[in-house]
């Protein structure tokens, strides 16, 4: 069991990224590129959304 929120997010992003890379691409080079783009985007966008949501709910 992974108890760290961040580690859960990174592992989830990595699994989804590898899955879609293999589903949509046939060449190894393209698969690596798409994995990095999808996985990186998921982690970075999640952190951005987390910071934007930080002040909410307003009290």
């Amino acid at each position: 069991m992974i108890r760290s929120h961040f580690l859960n997010m990174v592992v989830f992003s990595a699994l989804v990224a590898v899955f879609f890379a293999f589903l949509t691409q046939n060449e190894t080079r393209d698969r690596v590129r798409i994995s990095v783009i999808i996985g990186g985007s998921m982690v970075v966008l999640s952190l951005i959304v987390a910071y934007v949501m930080y002040p909410f709910p307003l009290r």
Partner: protein
């Protein structure tokens, strides 16, 4: 761009494959449909990814969904759980200690109280939401794999 008849004549002949067999195999074990279609490496990666997602879901105290007539979305969640194939029974047995798919409608039924209590025990875990997300994602991944195997068998995709 659609293939012209000339392209179809020049393209290598693909042996006829029933699209239903790879779909069935993909449901039985994630990635098996791709292995059957000759994509061994891709199929093994899919198997590893879906099984890892499913295993993380179980270890994070995710629960198998039950169909509850008062909550229509539980039908979709249960269908999604089933999409991962027969291994879904593992998560169901770990959650409820038996193979149950529907919550009894009668609120006085002691079975309903017992099933709800088993879910409550897992909800108390801090990783419950992550577990559910991993379990549901494993089912969604396998649905895409089944559709992908169908497309490959039909010759719509390489």
């Amino acid at each position: 761009m659609p293939e012209s008849p000339f392209d179809q004549i020049l393209s290598p002949m693909r042996p006829p494959v029933s699209p239903w067999m790879p779909c069935l195999l993909a449901w039985v074990l994630p990635g098996l449909g791709h292995i059957y279609l000759g994509k061994k490496q891709t199929g093994l990666v899919f198997l590893a990814v879906v099984l890892a997602t499913f295993a993380l879901g179980i270890s994070s105290n995710g629960t198998a969904a039950l169909i509850d007539s008062r909550q229509p979305l539980t039908v979709l969640a249960t269908f999604d759980n089933l999409a991962v194939g027969p291994i879904e029974a593992i998560s169901r047995f770990i959650t409820y200690r038996r193979f149950v798919y529907r919550l009894p409608e009668d609120e006085t039924d002691p079975q309903q109280a017992e099933l709800n209590e088993k879910v409550r025990q897992r909800i108390r875990s801090v990783t419950y939401e992550y577990g559910n997300t991993f379990l549901l994602t494993a089912g969604l991944m396998n649905m895409l794999l089944i559709l992908d195997a169908f497309d490959i068998a039909k010759g719509r995709k390489d």
